[in-house]
Amino acid sequence: MTAGPAPLQAPLDIGFDYTRSLGPVLGRFMAGLAARRIHGVRGSDGRVLVPPVEYDPSTAAPLTELVEVANEGTVVSWTWVSEPLADQPLARPFAWALIRLDGADTPMLHAVDAGPEDRVSTGMRVRARWAPEPAGRITDIECFEAIDKPGGSPAPGEIGEPVTMMTAPVQLRYTHTVSPEESHYLRGLAEGRLLGGRCPRCGKVYIPPRGACPTDGVPTVGEVELPDHGVITTFCIVNVPFLGQRITPPYVAAYVLLDGADIPFLHLVLGCRAEQVRMGMRVRAVWQPREQWGTTLHNIDHFEPTGEADAPFESYARHL
């Protein structure tokens, strides 16, 4: 591929609120947090591990004995965050610190809201700052702060039933960049053209063209303009609704093999009842109004039957 315009990019943002079953150990730890109490677990060697783990790090034995530790402790080590990121515990500069709570044998990682950096030190005494209304979540501990800071902690409460579940929202924000070959194809779509490329070794016509032919490993070359009609090789009728679905079911998702192409792509078929769609049915593209075209396959709104005779099975059998 010769040097051309920059590859196309678009945001791809996905997110989901995952749930977490906590199990007996973490469930009791979270219940403790709701009462402003911090628990560790006693390991096989007698040490108190904070936060608790379900299985011993050296023997793999299940651990069950929860041990309450203090809400305050000592900074064992730390690093400074001068520019906090979104979703971190504090919006102003803070320290990530390893804090060994009194009664614990292992340090836990948490944020220390210390003011300026020169107020943080190894050996510093800190105490937990609790959320105004603890609810059995890890964020019930907002952060730690210097123990000499006035105020002090509210009194701990009674521990309730173990927490069984937490929600863990995950957001992923990507910039999706397509290959130079696919960019060329997408720019063709913006002009209403369907541009494929041919593998110089096997001679197969790919649409979109490929940076590497899956069979031969070399880029497809040239520009093979394909017509906007072809044949349905196979298809399914999607009747099932699901989270994130962008086309209302029922709809026909079909592999469309354009005349002259050697590989089909998935698209939507409308223009007849779903049960009338057949393998071998001849279809043509129905384009969006030209003013709505962009660098996307969405420019083709759907495919519809042409009314021609079906293609013989043998003509597309090797594309199934």
Binding site: I14, F16, L22, T234, C236, V238, N239, F242, H298, L320
Partner: protein, 387 residues
């Protein structure tokens, strides 16, 4: 190339169900592991390495779960590997664990795989449309349904074959105390009248969404000889891969599956699989994949898989019982589903398959596939060290 002998000396699994809200992922894995260690008669100090299998991270939203699970897997101080081949991962996990023994690297290796589908939404995770494409994808069912349609057209199979498989596997599952679905009263008519989800795949022809885990212990010859109970000797393993799309790709009878099967039978010294294999645990998440994979695996020539199913030969008591455990159609903790096939193939030749036992099973196939039929993993287990 000479390999050391290897055997499965113990297997374990959870009772698969829609939601295991009482345990964490770690606790879920440990249920299966503890059962496998007990079945093998070994304890943590006997385990030299751990191999974990897990389907795509997006399924639970936990990046690299092998790190957070290291304590629960008993991995500190030992090698821990993660295997990742989508839905086939459980099978690949078993084969990777086996290779560590066959290579003479380790004496006993623990293989674990799990999925906690209730913490996520696999349908959502499998249907994310990248920019610039048409968002017509609809999960695994939406992916495979067109290829099932191609199979039906190409083979001329009658419409009820998929329902026959669903009825068989669900009734088998009803005999398996660990199976998610227990549907002893399911009938061909009830399957055929169930909702069409991804035409031509119906609701009752589709695997459930399960929480579950599986584990097995692989051992070298000396450790297997020392086991207190019968073991499952590995007669052959095979894995092959192919790209998701290429011009001329056969999605009904993928090349990688054919190549893996050919390598497997050659390695096992099996000339006529239908005659020489006593029982098969085949990865069938949608019922039509039983006849499709019977052909792909070389049990019969292309186009005739459905005839084996229709004849009843794949039922318990038939010529080649397929999925006596109930298979993926009865339990689908995705990451673990492949390992379950491999573990069930071991249990059959160990004689420890309970009410799902095939009488006199001496040679068994475990099989898994994953991705868009891209990854294939399989093994043959034997009741005897020599065959």
């Amino acid at each position: 190339m000479s390999k050391q002998r290897a055997a499965v000396i113990g297997t374990g699994q959870t009772k698969h169900t829609t939601k295991r809200l009482d345990v964490s992922m770690a606790g879920l894995c440990r249920e299966a592991i503890d059962r496998a260690l007990a079945d093998a008669g070994v304890d943590w100090p006997d385990i030299d390495a751990v191999v974990l299998g897990k389907a795509p991270d997006l399924f639970e939203g936990v990046m690299m779960p092998e790190l957070a699970l290291a304590d629960a897997l008993g991995a500190p101080g030992k090698p821990l590997l993660r295997v990742h081949t989508a839905g086939s991962v459980g099978g690949s996990t078993a084969n990777v664990a086996a290779s560590l023994v066959q290579a003479g690297v380790h004496r006993r290796v623990l293989a674990v795989a799990f999925e906690k589908q209730s913490e996520s939404n696999a349908m959502w995770a499998l249907s994310i449309a990248p920019p610039f494409t048409m968002p017509v994808g609809a999960g695994a069912g939406g992916y495979f349904a067109p290829h099932v349609r191609s199979y039906i057209r190409r083979s001329g199979a009658p419409d009820h074959i998929g329902a026959l498989v669903a009825v068989k596997d669900r009734r088998n599952g009803a005999r398996n105390p660990y199976a998610h679905l227990h549907q002893p009263d399911i009938t061909v008519d009830s399957v055929l009248s169930s909702t069409m989800l991804w035409d031509p795949i119906r609701y009752d022809e589709t695997c459930p969404s399960s929480d579950g885990a599986a584990a097995l212990v692989l051992a070298d010859e000396a450790a297997a000889d020392a086991a207190r109970q019968p073991v499952a000797w590995l007669r052959a393993t095979a894995m092959r891969t192919e790209p998701t799309t290429f011009a001329g790709r056969d999605q009904v009878n993928p090349q990688a599956g054919r190549d893996a099967a050919a390598a497997l039978w050659t390695s096992a010294g099996i000339r006529d699989p239908l005659a020489e294999v006593d029982v098969a645990e085949i990865y069938v998440p949608f019922s039509w994949f039983e006849p499709m994979w019977l052909e792909n695996l070389g049990f019969t020539e292309q186009g005739n898989g459905w005839r084996i199913t229709e004849s009843g030969d794949t039922e318990l008591g038939g010529r080649l019982p397929v999925n006596p455990s109930g298979g993926v159609l009865s339990s689908n903790p995705i990451g673990a589903s492949g390992l379950l096939r491999f573990a069930e193939a071991a249990s059959q030749v160990m004689g420890r398959a309970g009410d799902c036992q095939v009488d006199g099973a001496r040679t068994a196939l475990g099989h898994a596939y994953g991705g868009g039929s891209q990854y294939f993993a399989m093994w043959v287990t034997s009741a005897t060290k020599e065959w």
